[in-house]
């Protein structure tokens, strides 16, 4: 019995419940916020180490044997994802000390934060397809509540679109689970994978795979299911945006990686070809959407979509190197994307707006922030020697080796357009002089109560550089997860034991 796989789920549930009990104490809520996410980060690192050593860590809930009870499973991909959740959760909690405001704290921001993280970790670690649905629900409701925290009209409008489309996805997901259960008589993902591997008539299985594709495609904000994301991500508090940007869509991507390696690997030529088209469409529409906008967070939101495309491209190419690239990309992206949102929060405090046209002059007044922006921004655009370059390089190389030239061309052009958007922000917000007639610096952010906002930004920027300068360990982790994903029998054996 190895508790390491359960802690990343249990700890945030526990701290979530605990901070509900201290509903009225700001101090307790804030302390529990940092403490809880910090503890969770440590737990996830422990799990990563365990997984690195053993390959898979499995725990049967209530000691009911698989495939009958629910199992929690950590393979390298899942372990990487929960560590990233730990990092982003911790960073957000620290940032929130300055950035979230008393009112949000009063209305349950911290409990929601903990429970959202529990949902995310649960989704990463569960080995049961219906249990995955339950964690999706937890995430959905928690994120909805976080989304409307603040009570602005625009938040409501965004949240309604968010919830409607995500519920639609849940419904399709549930239908798919029902059909899967009907076909295989089991809910354990390893069991489903093992059983479907023996099926000869793969037609019906592939049809059901399409339902999963849509359901997780919506969650991942892939083309053409991404509408909810640009409709909502620019509306909530910045800390919430950052958390969502880092984690939520990646749960969808993770789910795609999981089911399209473990379960639906029968008709790869067909299913993964569709995924490749989805990837290309996602990359393109996202980056074009960003080019069309002049609002800091809207630009960043559209770039999330575009980069989901790169990750899906890694899955779709379905070679070892491509999956390495996909996983590497996820790691890089989560850190960089959350950081960019956090930075947009600092500039918002400085200028009181997210509109690029009304901002300016920050490089003059605050060059350090300029550098802190350039690091993730250039990394996002795939500029060396930052993390994004290696992520992009691996995927491009895998694409060329797989002779998928057209999608490589798309990926390269999208990279250039990403740079265009990032440079647009840089030129407008940092380089340009503060435009006339618009109020200048509203708040001093370099001292006093705003100081907490800087710590996670610096922390994440250092990680971006570190991955670039010393990426070998990251590469090795991605390599191990790719090898596991391409050989589902390892996962199946870890969960069900050796089968004859």
């Amino acid at each position: 019995m190895n508790m390491s796989v359960a802690l990343p789920v249990i700890l945030p549930l526990f701290f979530g419940a605990l901070s509900v009990m201290f509903w009225r104490s700001h101090f307790a809520q804030r302390s529990l916020g940092v403490l809880g996410t910090g503890a969770m980060l440590l737990a996830t690192i422990w799990l990563l180490m365990e997984t690195w050593e053993h390959g898979h860590v499995v725990m049967e809930m209530g000691s009911w044997p698989a495939p009958f009870g629910i199992v929690l499973v950590s393979d390298m991909l899942a372990a990487i994802m929960v560590v990233l959740t730990g990092i982003i959760g911790f960073a957000t909690a620290i940032y929130s000390l300055s950035g979230i405001g008393k009112m949000s704290e009063k209305f349950g921001y911290y409990p929601l934060l903990h429970l959202l993280l529990a949902g995310v970790n649960g989704a990463f670690l569960t080995g049961d397809i219906f249990n995955l649905y339950v964690w999706f629900e937890v995430m959905l409701v928690a994120s909805f509540a976080l989304l409307i925290l603040g009570g602005e009209r625009s938040q409501m409008e965004g949240a309604i679109k968010y919830v409607t489309l995500n519920l639609l996805s849940s419904m399709i997901f549930l239908t798919a689970i029902g059909l899967t259960y009907g076909l295989t008589g089991t809910l354990n993902m390893a069991d489903i994978g093992a059983k479907l591997a023996t099926v000869e008539d793969t037609g019906l299985v592939t049809v059901i795979a399409m339902l999963y594709l849509v359901a997780f495609g919506v969650k991942a904000a892939a083309f053409p299911f991404f509408f909810w994301l640009p409709a909502s991500y620019h509306t909530p508090k910045v800390a919430v945006s950052a958390l969502f940007a880092g984690l939520l869509t990646k749960v969808g991507v993770y789910a795609l990686f999981r089911v399209f390696t473990l379960i639906f690997n029968q008709e790869v030529d067909y299913t993964h070809e569709i995924l490749l088209w989805v990837a290309a469409g996602t990359m393109l529409t996202g980056v074009l959407g960003a080019a069309a906008h002049y609002e800091f967070r809207r630009i960043l939101s559209f770039h999330i979509i575009s980069q989901i495309g790169y990750m899906i491209m890694g899955l779709a190419l379905f070679t070892p190197l491509a999956l390495v690239g996909g996983v590497f990309y996820i790691m890089h992206h989560i850190i960089v994307k959350a950081n960019l949102f956090l930075i947009s929060g600092i500039t918002f405090v400085m200028k009181g707006t997210h509109e690029l046209r009304q901002m300016g002059g920050i490089y003059r007044t605050n060059p350090i922030l300029g550098v802190l922006f350039l690091i993730p921004a250039l990394s996002l655009a795939g500029m060396p020697p930052l993390s994004g370059f290696f992520a992009k390089f691996i995927i491009i190389r895998a694409g060329i080796e797989a002779e998928a030239y057209w999608v490589v061309a798309v990926a390269l052009v999208v990279g250039l357009l990403t740079l265009y958007s990032m440079i647009k922000i840089w030129a407008e917000v940092f380089w340009k002089a503060q435009p006339e007639g618009v109020e200048g610096e509203i708040h001093d952010v370099s001292s006093g109560p705003m100081i907490w906002m800087w710590i996670p930004v610096i922390m994440l920027a250092m990680m971006t550089i570190a991955i670039g300068l010393y990426g070998e360990p990251i590469y090795q982790m991605a390599l191990m997860s790719a090898e596991q994903l391409l050989d589902p029998s390892q996962y199946i054996e870890a969960v069900l034991g050796v089968q004859e």
Binding site: G185, L204, H293, L416
Partner: protein, 766 residues
Amino acid sequence: MLYAILSIFLVAAVAPVVHRLTGRASGWVLGLLPAALFVYFLSFLPAVSSGESIVLVWPWMPGLDIQLSFLVDGLSLLFALLVSGIGFFIVTYAGRYLQAHRDLGRFYVIILAFMGSMLGLVLADNLIALFVFWELTSITSYLLIGYNHEDKDARKYALQGLFVTVGGGLALLAGIIMLAMAGGSWELSEILNNGDVVREHALYLPLLLLILLGAFTKSAQVPFHFWLPRAMAAPTPVSAYLHSATMVKAGVYLLARLNPSLGGTDIWFTTLALFGAVTMFTGVFLAFRSTGVKKVLAYSTVMALGTLTMLIGVGTETALLAAMAFLLAHSLYKGALFMVAGILDHEAGAKDFLQTGGLRSALPVTAAFAILAALSLGGVIPLFGFVAKELMLEAVLDAPGLVGILSLFAVLTAILGVAVAAIVGIRPWFGARADTPKTPQHEAPVAMLAGPAVLASLGLIFGLGPGLADQGLINAAAASVQGAPVDGYLALWHGINLPLAISAFSLVAGGLLYWRWEQARRALAWVDRAAEYGPEKGYFKMMDGLVWISEWQTRVLQNGYLRYYVIVTVAMTAGLVGVTAQLFEVSVGTLHFERLQIHEMAIIAILVASMLFAVLTRSRLGAVAALGSLGFTVALVYVLYSAADVGITQVLVETLTVILLVLVLFRLPGFLNLSSSALRVRDAGIALVTGGMITLLILSTLDARLFPSISQYFIEESEPSGYGRNIVNVVLVDFRALDTLGEIFVLALAAIGVYAMLRFRAEDRR
């Protein structure tokens, strides 16, 4: 070697501190670093000029074959010496030129980082390391070009340079990945010995084109030449550096570097020679008809880059020797001349040749070295530029093909080149004293004169003693480019031959053109109108088009209407399911109507009737009631199939839902029908198709049922292991307790959310 390059980045990081500590002397202090590096690189000279090449390796990401490996041979050492040597003069020069500028500290950071990137680029042996430094030069030069960042044009043209070079860089990335695949290695030192394999590989043509795209954009070959003169938005020391030894030469460096493995084919020769020749002529032609000091110099750089590309394309031994000599000559005089341009601006405020004249007496030292450098630019004996030009003409006349075209371009370029040299070397210094915006009070300071003086003098020294240059390094460099030792040598005097005659002729013709400069410019005014359709126009059109397309597609896709998003999602689902089922010929499940019993038919009838009523009614209350009846009927189905617990839950949920809905109904405005009938028919169609599709899918699944269900286990184990006879309960609270735990938290979350939604705004207003 690694430490040499890292040291630059480290010093760059602390440059603002150094600047604050040392104040006025900061240029000299920071200049020590490139000077030290120059000496360090010189220590490789004996080994390299005797034909050795040295490879140094540090691992970086070994799993991906990425290492920080460096290759020191003639070519890379020549470049490294130029980068660090000229770099020294640039840093000291900038220390004075930008003395009053408030951002000088930041300037040092970027220029040193740029220098480090450039050194890394020319010394890298690993293809990825090379690419990393390649992109770094693009980024740092972006920051340098946009140094005066509050100026709109500076930002615009910095972006232009970045976009063109990074765009080419992406092509290059794809190209070098293919090159590594074709050559079987990521190390240049190995690929270069594998030329035959690469040239015969199936990917040769695509990889060549991609790499050329990268090199041509970086080195401003036609039609990408437009970004380079625009990059003059940068402060003058930056222009001097970018043009003389660095940035723009990177593309040429790459071509020279890869010549042993990619060169020697027809396509290589034709493409490089033609693009080079056209660029060469375009550059000198545009230089001749410009009047801005920096603009003339910038276009003459385009000319030089074209010449180098052409010579590498021609690829004979003479041509490669000429290329290396020309490279050195150009770096020396162009560095000197740009620094002179800065002095003109700094001391006399003059940015245009038309504003200048007769400054010889006010700035005698500057004038002397400017004239010396200009003579080298014009290829006048006995300067080093002359040696290079003679060799260039010789190489062109002996080219393996296209002799006619290339010679024509070369002669025209030589003539116009002399005229341009005259503009630079005569116009500001002789003739009547012009009214410059500022009257020069004194000669430029030593820090600013050192560069022009040394570089221009070197042009003379190498001219008089070309053996110094060729035995030192030029031969070794040409040998690296050729991939084999070189027998040729440089000489000032080749005897009376055709190249000499052309040189003499071009001197006379060029002089005449300079004499008639005004008239010639006026006669060429049409070029401005033609430029309206030039490649730069294309660039701006492309950028506008990009914005237009993005706005259009975003308007169409992200149009703000939730109903449209839902339709797309649902229709995509149905489409994917339907098409896949068709393709894989999934058999449709069968219905067994004969087994249908009377009470089941009744339930179906109620279901259908409630559904139709809910859809068709015009009353909200009616619709809610119909939905309720639908729900209760479903509960009945559960009960019928002996799932009593689920049935009870369904009844409770339905009741609550209906009550809540009715409560809300009274607060809603009146019922409106906003959709036209056509839209309603469309929506009904989508709904029917999707619903039908899912129904068929369920039927197929029921028919297929491949494996026994795990529920048998629950039935058997419920009482003995779970201690409960109600199996559903045991499943909920024991077998699958984690699900239930999750759902409990869902409810708690929903409660928090609703509370916040109701109270947040109210309290916030208070």
